[in-house]
Symmetry: C3
Subunit: 450 residues, 3 copies
């Protein structure tokens, strides 16, 4: 062997060795990255799953005790039915390959290799994507239970929660997150102010309108009687659980373990805080007292509001988004109740529909390219012009139209097929007895009263 | 230096460099892997620890308010005593080197290098393994409190929770997870349908039998009086917390951060959902109403059922496992109550013993080698024949025999040493007053009733 | 090209290649490490954030139902105001570059590159550090609400929670964690027995003294009347949530994903368990019954006690720290109540001030260098002499002096500016009605009593 040959061999060895080291390291690193991302997204999804407990406590607490079992059962069952329906149908409609309106493949998680290209940007396993998206879907369904509380038949609830998780929500999701037409147009909704919250909120509105108010809620002159919730501690617990879960909802929507989750957590948290303060002050000014229910809903409104833009805005902007959301919650609750006489026992429409809409709009105002270069670009307040805001408005309007239209159709169908509302007698007696044959607080003993 | 020498030196440098790079990268990667796995297993363990809150809320909610403090205190204290007992004795008996029946070393976490070889498959630190296994052990202990609710002396409870966490549970654990005889025979139980839930459930059965029913529970003709729980909201909250915690229980049982946790989370969740639906429908058919308690227990039954096989079965199989578990819960509650007149206030035997048994059996039917190659192999329904099913049945029977025998012995000893049951007067007055000198809801004020 | 040149080029290529591989791998690894650490610290922070729910449930449960809304609202609002105040002012005072007493830069998270050098030891993004430190700050503020429960004006509460989160707590934090004088002196407090818990606890003491006891609490002869909490289930839930959150509080204080979190979790958990057992036994001996409230507070006392030293002590030492803390809780509650007649409705002073002090002192006794080489060194019991213990005592005394002085000044100012205490009439009617215009359990229906 000549030296030249030896050297050539050495060069080859060097290159091979170098490449091999790199490739091996890359493969190992990639598989580690998949595991890391899976751990993060799964834990985030688990936090969001726990929001079901939050909604259960919140809506049960804001209801009267005679309907508490019913509220709990609805929250439990929409997650149960949603888990199956979203696996069988919803996930395929939302993320499966299809057209600009809906997916046409991927039902039962069947993946033929390229079925879920719309989610290829995340490297976590398909079942992790399914789980994470499922808990979002279930959130949208659960929202509806709130506005329709205390008067909806349980069998009707099962029908509509299946319809929402299998069809209505996934189609909106496809538009924005599944490569559908709103995504193409340039509408952005990072974690679902519109996709999850407005969709749920507008469905809640259509349901509340179709049902009509609870017996005795409104007087002939249009004035409203307060039906306070039976347990503010449960409602407060629910709000804390929801806030806790939101740290999965928003930061988890990266679907990857990246340092940016810190920024998202910070904007999310501060918007919730600002929303709580703003709602408390607004309520203090309007009702002359710092109402606890309003403060709780204000926190939720702030969190809903920042959900669309949490990855794209500064902490300062997040505060403004939260403040406006907190004010909007109080004014919307008053507006829907006292002006429109639409009876929403827990304030779901104000929190989710109104603040979801505000949050989607606010993204068009406050987004800054620097937080996620190459995504939203700058919003109106940061020199980005009207284009982004226009796309956001189109998204808001089209989701409103879709959710209201399908909501009315769905509730109309249910009304004529199985009935939507319990009888007046049952409503007065409470749904727990007639729908479920039980009481929430059987034989509750009071030993002493002082 | 000749060129030849130079080249030779270069080759050596190359090889050394290459190896060194690899070794360094490997060491760094390994230490990172340890940190990642530790983070995952610890967080999973923390979720499981929170299940103590779930059991506390569930069992307090399903009890009468006069015994609520007692239930809460038992849940708190079995975790306190279990933490110490499992550290001092249980962990060594379960995982320490020993024989096929129990470990004989590793008490107080003393590790002489090869003491815990049965857990060498996980690279997390020993204290992480201890913590993760502890929270499982405490779960088994807590289950027992449910079936023995509302009539067991608090001092008796302390004795038996120490005995369970120090000895009875760890020995079962050694058989299956600590390299004991059931592991050798080829029985599989991924996250503890048998090890945790059936063990706890059969102990709960032996305790309920030894105690006898609550005063007034059964009439002379064998018919049963309902003693409904005093707070369904607490029970529902407990169920949601347990479901939440199960995402630590099952996916965390990988004891490593691997992408497979996504599959495990998906099967776990869908089995719980299917269990809830199946139990609701079964109860609707039997009781003519969709009973909330049954739906809650159905979710738990589905989760217990899939715990053994969550890593080895498809999502479709998990649904079937959940459905059967949900039906079994309702039928078992009725069977134990109305046929055998065994009084189990919260349904712990139905949920944990029956569904744990079903889940362990179902692994032998539904397991598929492809989900974890080289572990269970295929179950009966997937062409694997009867061998796996046979091993599962042997596991089921032997754990039943062990738990029932030690349970009866333990409760018999406690009965004769400190007494097992409170007096009839104390039972009627409630355990809170006499055992703890307090009330769960002192001076609860009702301002208005409508 | 001569062979020599070729070989030289090859050497260069080799070295460049080698270095490049290393550098690339290092960069990738570093960015992964940042992501991993961020994921861990963020999730830990989220667990700590959830402790707000724990405090809310604990303090509401231990209060009378007529003040429950007020307690919930305070817990909610101090986190809302704290989020803003700590972002704007507190974080800069605590960690911004400045002097040995406080930071003078970094307000509104403005970072000019070297502003937050005191936190450079952690590689997570600044916003992650802010979030993690914020939830600690909010914990200190929330503690105060407990001792001042059932008689403090809501507007006063807002003022003092802002003052604590913006100024009082951050300055203590600067001394110990922000490179201040106590850190220089060699005082150690791993996760905040003193920084968080004693600070909160001494402020709670100053507040309780300034307010005076609740109407009717003490008789003329100095004997005390019990005002039991209205919901032990809520209090127990709160305790479980706090225990759950402590797994973020202590292990998360590594601010990095390292295997040592396992040791910290194990010491934390076992100290809580030992505290619960010790308090139960102490209460059993003193009151003749195993009081549930005392057991709950004992767990918390144990957790507070081990917070300073969880990373530096053995499991065995952690048990001793927990046992002493559990005993101290019971004796302190009795001492403050019956000897000093200082009215602390939830036992916040005993749990946080006393056990925080004990824990800080205990670090000087039980620390072992081997658990974190190059930090604390050995404590007195492990041959380290008195130096560490001296520094700990100096820290204890100076934080006591600071918190008591600023606390009295603050509450004196509030008293004269907006008033600190509600009127006697309002107190008797309950704060919920007059402060918030609502009831915690409106129209709570009792269907049956047996």
């Amino acid at each position: 062997m000549t030296k030249r040959t030896l050297i050539a061999a050495l060069v080859v060895a060097l290159l091979v060795g170098y490449t091999a080291t790199g490739a091996l390291a890359e493969t190992a690193a990639d598989s580690k990255q998949v595991a890391m991302d899976t751990g993060w997204v799964l834990l985030a999804g688990v936090l969001v799953m726990f929001m079901q407990a939050g909604f259960a406590m919140l809506t049960a607490g804001f209801s009267r005790s005679k309907n508490a079992c019913n509220m709990l059962m609805k929250n439990l069952m929409d997650f149960c039915f949603g888990t199956i329906a979203f696996w069988a149908i919803g996930f395929g409609l939302m993320f499966g390959a299809g057209n600009l309106l809906f997916g046409t493949s991927g039902f039962f998680l069947q993946d033929t290799g390229n079925t879920f290209a719309s989610l290829d940007w995340s490297i976590v396993p398909l079942e992790c994507k399914y789980f994470f998206q499922l808990v979002f879907c279930a959130t949208a369904a659960t929202i509806v239970a709130g506005s329709m509380a205390e008067r909806t038949k349980f069998s009707a609830y099962i029908f509509y929660s299946i319809a929402i998780t299998a069809i209505i929500y996934p189609i909106v999701g496809h538009w924005v997150w599944g490569g559908g037409w709103l995504a193409k147009i340039g509408m952005w909704d990072f974690a679902g102010s519109t996709v999850v919250h407005s969709t749920g909120g507008w469905l809640a509105l259509s349901g509340a309108v179709m049902l009509g108010p609870r017996s005795g809620k409104y007087n002939r002159d249009g004035t409203s009687n307060a039906f306070p919730g039976h347990s503010i501690p449960l409602a407060a617990l629910g709000t804390f659980i929801l806030w806790f879960g939101w740290f999965g909802f928003n930061p988890g929507s990266t679907m990857a373990l990246v340092p940016e989750i810190a920024h998202i957590a910070a904007t999310t948290n501060i918007a919730g805080a600002a929303g709580g303060i703003a709602a408390m002050i607004t309520a203090w000014w309007w009702f002359k007292k710092p109402d606890v229910s309003m403060a709780l809903n204000g926190v939720l409104g702030g969190l809903v509001g920042v959900t669309a833009s949490c990855a794209f805005v500064s902490i300062g902007s997040a505060i403004w988004i939260g403040i406006v959301a907190g004010i909007l919650v109080v004014l919307s609750v008053i507006f829907f109740d006292q002006v429109l006489n639409i009876d929403d026992p827990v304030g779901a429409i104000a929190v989710h529909a109104v603040c979801g809409t505000w949050g989607t709009f606010a993204l068009g105002l406050f987004a800054q390219d620097k937080f996620a270069p190459g995504t939203t670009g700058n919003g109106l307040f940061f020199g980005g012009g009207w284009k982004l805001l226009g796309a956001q408005c189109l998204g808001i309007v089209s989701v409103f139209a879709w959710a209201m239209a399908t909501g009315f159709l769905l509730f109309w169908m249910i009304k004529h097929l199985v009935g939507l509302r319990v009888s007046r007698e049952e409503e007065l007696r409470g749904l727990d007895i007639d729908e479920h044959g039980m009481e929430a607080y059987y034989g509750f003993q009071i030993f002493t009263t002082e």
